[in-house]
Amino acid sequence: MSNKNTKECNDMILCRIWQGLKKPSVRYSLGTILIVGFISGIIFWGGFNTAMEMTNNEEFCISCHEMEDNVFQEYKETIHYSNRTGVRATCPDCHVPKEWQHKVVRKIQASNELLHKALGTINTREKFEGKRLELAKHVWEAMEKTDSRECRNCHNFDHMDFTEQGRRAVKAHSEGLDAGKTCIDCHKGIAHELPDMHDVDPGSSIGDI
């Protein structure tokens, strides 16, 4: 049986590799295989995560001028960049999920961003402004779908002390909690400039004069 398979595999390299993998080792002990497998597992896993973390910081995000010249400059004026307590939320804190499985999904989606970096889709301020509404809508939709998961890494309805909040915040938060609203429903444009809101909220934009 085995000979027959080997014969059939002569021309097919993938098949021969599979045959080799199926056979038990005759040269190495089980212990050696286990130890080598264990160590290389750690190296591969650690290496993968380290590489992923290297793409998960502000410095990496703004290494593209599209990010540094547009959204990063706007973010620098907001409370998530500078505030009284000195706690800062950087790009990946809001834009990359913390949980591993969601993080990997987001990182795979980011390959689309690499494609458009190569195509130069938003490589000028004008092109970026032209796309701003569409890009913002993507983020809003993602936030709505996940119940603003990345906001909730730090902010949580259950942990809020309403007595410490302002008059408007108490009302909006207690009503929002009852209505099952999520952060992004109200808190749009808190870390970056809003796009032209005329189609989203006609009352809050002057539109075409």
């Binding site: 004026e77 907001t78 444009g189 796009p195 032209d196 909220d201 006609p202 809050s204 002057i206």
Partner: protein, 148 residues
């Protein structure tokens, strides 16, 4: 003739003395600090966080903003104030709605949306800080407003 000259001399002397006296009391915004020294800046005022609407002091007064508006952007693309104070949003936000006078163009034509000349809210409406008046002021609102 002599009398006239005397009057002029006296007047000039008075003006001269007066302006000299005024020059001594005038101090610039940086205070009486020498030019090569740093003057001490007054502490930055903090905006009132969140209060009930503030009563007007005179009939034509643009209502004051009783809350912080830090980082509220008003530009051609969006107007943060209007996300609560517009006619479409004020009910849900429980906010004061924008006056219908703001829908008029300068030719008194009523428009379908806020007039461009009224779009930049902070030209007239301002938030408040807990600052004491720089000069004494005993202005009292008229009774029609204060009720007293």
């Amino acid at each position: 003739m002599m009398k006239k000259i005397t009057t002029i001399v006296v007047l000039l002397a008075t003006v001269g003395f007066g302006s000299q006296a005024a020059a001594e009391t005038v101090s610039s915004l940086r205070g009486a600090t020498d030019i090569d020294q740093d003057s001490s800046a007054p502490a930055a005022k903090k905006y009132n966080k969140d209060k009930e609407p503030i009563a007007r002091d005179y009939v034509q007064q643009p209502p004051l903003i009783p809350h912080k508006i830090t980082n509220y952007r008003i530009n051609l693309k969006s107007n943060k104030c209007m996300s609560c104070h517009s006619w479409s949003n004020y009910r849900e936000a429980n906010a004061t709605k924008i006056s219908q006078t703001h829908f008029e163009s300068r030719d008194k034509n009523v428009l379908a949306n806020v007039s461009a000349r009224r779009y930049f809210c902070t030209q007239c409406h301002v938030p408040q800080v807990g600052a004491q008046p720089l000069v004494e002021n005993d202005f009292q609102p008229i009774t029609a407003i204060s009720g007293q």
